[in-house]
Amino acid sequence: MKTLDNHPYIPATAAERVEMLRASGVDSLDGLLGDIPVEHRNPKINLDTGLSEQELSELFNSIASTNASPSNGYISFLGAGSYQHYIPSTVRSILQRGEFVTAYTPYQPEAAQGTLQVGFEFQTVTCQLTGMEVANAGMYDGPTAFAEACLMSVRVTRRNKVGVLTTADRRLTDTFVAYSKYQGLELVEISPDITEIPKDLACIAIQSPNFFGAIEDVERLTTVAHSNGALSIVHVNPTALGMFKSPGEYGVDIVTAEGQPLGVPMAFGGPYVGLFACKKVHIRQMPGRIIGRTTDTQGRVGYALTLQTREQHIRRERATSNICTSTQLMGLMVTVYTATLGKQGIKDVANLCYQKAHYAASEIDKLNNFSIEPRGTFFHEFVVNCPVPPREINAALLKRNILGGLDISDRSENGMLICVTETILKHDIDRLVSALSEIGSSL
C-alpha cells in the first residue's frame, strides 16, 4: 500500500516529506521505524479507500434517513434516562465556536480562560439547581456520576455496603456494579418505605423522580440515612428541579444527575454529562475535575483547575477516580441552556412537562383497557398498565409512526413507561391516546 499524497487533512507534500526525512538523517520512512518488528511492519489492512466530502455526505445522509426520528415524522414517548427537549438556538450557535470545540483540557489556564470560566459557571449552575454547596465540572454521564457518588460515600464513611432504593433505574445500579465489581463492596436494595437501615451502610442512594417517574420522600430517607451515619445520595432529573424542591433543601450529601435534558441532544445515548454536587466538607473526596477562581500576578481574576491532587495524573492509583477526558463541551451546552432559559424558563419548561404528562396520563387512564399505576406524585413520566405485553402495543403504535413508551414489563407487569415533554403537542398526545384506544379495542 503506498502513501497517499495530499489528503485534505494532511498538508505535507511529497517534497516536504523528503526534506524532513533528510533533515532527520534518513532516506525513507523505514529508517525511522527500526523498532517495529520487521515481520509485522506494514500489514495488510482491509478498509475501503477514502471518500471525498461529497460522497461522505451522501453516505451519512443515507444512514441517517434509515433511522426513525422526529425529523422524519415519528413522535416518541420514550424517556427513562434520555429526554427529548427543545434545544434553544443559542446552544447550537455557541456550540459551533471552534474556540470551545477544538480546545484541549485547560491545563494551561492562561490559554484557556474561556473554557475555565464556562466550567466555573457550570459548577455554579449545578449548585443552583441542586441546592448544593459545591460541584465538579462534570462526569461522563448520569449513571457514572451516580456510581462514583456511591464510591465516594464508601470513601467518606469507610463503610462498604451501598444501599440503593429498589425504585431506581437499573442503569444506575448496573453501572455502580460494573464500577465496584472488584472493590469488595456490597449492593443492598432498600425499599422506599424503610425506616431503619443497617449500621454498616455507606449511603442510601435515591433516584427521584424514580425510574417510574414518581417523587421519592427524600427528606425522610435522608433523615434515616443520617441517623445511621450514612450519607444520602440523590440522583435527580434536572428539569424536575425547575418545579420540585432541591435535594439541598433536604440536607442531602451528594447529588448527581444526568445533564442531558439541559440542552444536550439525545444522540442515541451519548455523549451526555453527569452533574455531581456535594456538601463542601466532602470536597476532597470528590471525583472529577474542579475549577477554582484565582488571580494573576496583576491581581486580575482568572480561573484554573484546582484540587488536582485528587486526580489520577497526580495521585495515580490512589486518585479519587480514574476520570481524565470528561465532558466539558456538554457542560458548555448545559451552561448556555440554563443561561438561556434563566430563572423563569426553567420553571416554565418543568411546568409544561408536568402539565402535558398529567394530561396524557389522565386521558390514557380514561381508556377502557389501559390504566395508570398510581405511585405517588409524578413529574413527566408515568407507568401505564397495558392489557397485553407492551411490546405488542408498541409494534402497533410504530405502524402509526409513534414510538411508544419503554416496555418495563420486567419491572411492572405489562408496564409501559411513558414520558411527555414540552416538545409534544396536545395534538400528538391525542394521537397517542386514540391510537391506544384503537389498539385496545381491537384486542
Binding site: K2, E53, T124, Q312, C324, E422
Partner: protein
C-alpha cells in the same frame, strides 16, 4: 463625574453578575392542554437562582469568552500524548444530522438500523486497524476504555478460576489513568522501570512477573514517543506467565497501517477516538474510548456490542459481559465523527496519517535536540520528549518555556510528563500541521532558548500577550472558590 474605565480589560463578570430580575433570553410556548392540578405545595420549589439576561447577552457573553481560548481552529497545539489534530468540520455536521442526533437510545433496534450498522462498521474498522477483532464502543473515554479492558482481563482470569491474579504491572512512564484504572479494577499496581533508552527494562519485568500477574499495561508507542523494540519478548514473557497484555492505545496515531497491536501479542487495547480519530476535544471532552480485544476475549466485552444478524443489526450483550459501564451505548456522536474520519481517509489515508505524524515529530526532534536534550539519541514515533534540563541549569524551567510559548500563539507542550524525564516537554505535532508551522515552532523554541541569556525576564514573566498573566494556582487550592456567590 469621572470614573476610570480600563480600555484594555475584558469584562469578566459572571452570568449572575449580569442578571437582572425580569429579563429573559427565551420564552416557552403556552400550555396547549387543559390545566392540571399541581402536587402538594410542600413538594414545590420557590425559584431556581438562574441568570436573567437577554438573548443578545447570552450570545455575546459566550462569544467573547470563547476568544479567550487557544484551540486547534486558531492555534498550533504541539501537546504530546494528546494528538491535537485537525477536527474536520464535516464530521461535526454529519453527527448533527437529524436521524443521528435526535434518536433515542432506547428505540427498538428495527427503528435505528442505520445507527447500529454504523456502530458495527466502526467496530469492524477498529478491529482491523488494531488486529483485535472484538470491539465494544461503550467506553466514554480512554480511562473508561482502560477500565473496561481491565475488567475483561479480570473476567477472563475468573472464567479460568485463576482468581489469584491481582497484580497489574505498569511502566513508570505510564499515564496516570493506567494505575488509577488498575486500582479501580481492584488490582495492585507494581511499577516496572524504564531503561536509559526509555524502553521497558526487560530484566526488571522478568523479575516482577509471576503467577499473580493479571495484566501488563503498556503504552504503545510509549509516552516517550518510543516504540518498544522488545515488544515481542515482552508479550511472550507475560503470556508465558499466564498474564494478559493491555496496550494503552492513546498513541495509536503513530501506528495506523504500520503495525497491528494484535500481531505483536497484545490481547486488549483501547483507542481514544478524540485523539487518533480526530474528534474534537471540546476543552476536556466528550471523548470515546472503544476497547478492542482478541476474539477469545470478545465474550467478556462490556455491553452493548453491535452485531449483524439475519434479522438486521442489533445491539447485544456479550455472553459473559463485564456489564454496563455507563448509561447507554457510548458516545454515539463521537463514534459518528470517528467513523466519518476513517471513511474520509480510507486505508491509504490512515497510513499516511501515521507516516506524516512520525516524519514531523522526528523533524522537530532533529532540529531541536542540539538545544533541548532528548532521552536517548534514537528516532521517535509521533512525538518527541524534549528535556529542558539544559535550560533549567541556566535558570529557566520547562514551565517558564511553556508559558513563553503561549506568547507566540503556540500552545505549550505537555509538561513534566512522563515523570521519568527531567523538565519534560513532550511535543506531538501531528500530521495535520504543515511543515511551515513546524519550522515556525522550531524557530520560536530556538529563540526562547536564546532569550534565556539575552532577556530572561521575557520568559519569567510570560505569558505577556494573553488575557491574564500567570495565574496563582496555589491560592486556588488553598482557599477554593468553586462557584459564583452573591458576595463575589
Amino acid at each position: 463625574m469621572t470614573i476610570t474605565i480600563d480600555a484594555n480589560e475584558v469584562d469578566r463578570r459572571l452570568l449572575m453578575d449580569r442578571s437582572l430580575a425580569g429579563r429573559r433570553a427565551f420564552t416557552l410556548p403556552g400550555s396547549d392542554v387543559p390545566e392540571q392540578s399541581l402536587p402538594d405545595s410542600s413538594l414545590l420549589r420557590e425559584d431556581v437562582e438562574l441568570p436573567e439576561i437577554s438573548q443578545l447577552e447570552v450570545i455575546r457573553y459566550f462569544s467573547v469568552l470563547s476568544q479567550l481560548n487557544f484551540s486547534i481552529d486558531t492555534n498550533f497545539y504541539p501537546l504530546g500524548s494528546c494528538t491535537m489534530k485537525y477536527n474536520p468540520k464535516i464530521n461535526d455536521e454529519l453527527s448533527s444530522l437529524p436521524g443521528l442526533s435526535d434518536i433515542h437510545p432506547l428505540q427498538p433496534d428495527e427503528t435505528v438500523q442505520g445507527a447500529i450498522r454504523l456502530m458495527k462498521d466502526l467496530q469492524d474498522d477498529l478491529g482491523e486497524i488494531t488486529g483485535l477483532p472484538g470491539v465494544s464502543l461503550a467506553p466514554l473515554a480512554g480511562a473508561q476504555g482502560e477500565y473496561a479492558g481491565l475488567l475483561v482481563a479480570r473476567a477472563y482470569h475468573a472464567s479460568r478460576h485463576d482468581e489469584k491474579r491481582t497484580i497489574a504491572i505498569v511502566p513508570d512512564s505510564a499515564h496516570g489513568t493506567n494505575p488509577a484504572s488498575a486500582a479501580m479494577a481492584g488490582l495492585e499496581v507494581v511499577t516496572v522501570r524504564s531503561d536509559e533508552q526509555g524502553n521497558v527494562d526487560v530484566e526488571n519485568l522478568r523479575e516482577l512477573v509471576n503467577e499473580k500477574t493479571a495484566v501488563f499495561m503498556l503504552t504503545m508507542p510509549s509516552t516517550l514517543g518510543l516504540f518498544e523494540p522488545n515488544i515481542l519478548d515482552i508479550t511472550n514473557i507475560i503470556h508465558d506467565a499466564g498474564g494478559l497484555v493491555y496496550a494503552d492505545g492513546a498513541n495509536l496515531n503513530a501506528l495506523l497501517g504500520l503495525v497491528k497491536l494484535g500481531d505483536l501479542g497484545v490481547d486488549i487495547c483501547h483507542s481514544n477516538l478524540h485523539k487518533t480519530f480526530s474528534t474534537p476535544h471540546g476543552g476536556g471532552g466528550p471523548g470515546s474510548g472503544p476497547v478492542m480485544v482478541s476474539s477469545e476475549l470478545a465474550k467478556f466485552l462490556p455491553t452493548p456490542v453491535a452485531e449483524q444478524t439475519d434479522h438486521g443489526y442489533v445491539l447485544s450483550q456479550p455472553a459473559m459481559s463485564v456489564g454496563s459501564i455507563n448509561g447507554f451505548h457510548g458516545s454515539f456522536s463521537i463514534v459518528v465523527r470517528a467513523f466519518a474520519y476513517i471513511k474520509a481517509l480510507g486505508c491509504e489515508g490512515l497510513k499516511s496519517v501515521s507516516e506524516n505524524a512520525i516524519i514531523g515529530a522526528n523533524y522537530i526532534q532533529s532540529k531541536l535536540k542540539d538545544k533541548y536534550s532528548i532521552v536517548a539519541d534514537r528516532y521517535c514515533m509521533h512525538e518527541t520528549v524534549l528535556s529542558a534540563a539544559n535550560q533549567k541549569k541556566r535558570g529557566v524551567s520547562g514551565l517558564d518555556i511553556a508559558k513563553r510559548l503561549l506568547d507566540f500563539g503556540i500552545h505549550a507542550p505537555t509538561m513534566y510528563f512522563p515523570l521519568i524525564v527531567e523538565e519534560a516537554l513532550m511535543v506531538e505535532p501531528t500530521e495535520s500541521e504543515s511543515k511551515e508551522t513546524l519550522d515556525h515552532f522550531i524557530a520560536v523554541m530556538r529563540q526562547i532558548d536564546d532569550e534565556i541569556d539575552r532577556s530572561p525576564e521575557l520568559i519569567f514573566d510570560a505569558p505577556h500577550e494573553l488575557p491574564v498573566k500567570r495565574l496563582d494556582e496555589v491560592a486556588a487550592v488553598r482557599k477554593p472558590v468553586l462557584r459564583w456567590s452573591p458576595e463575589g
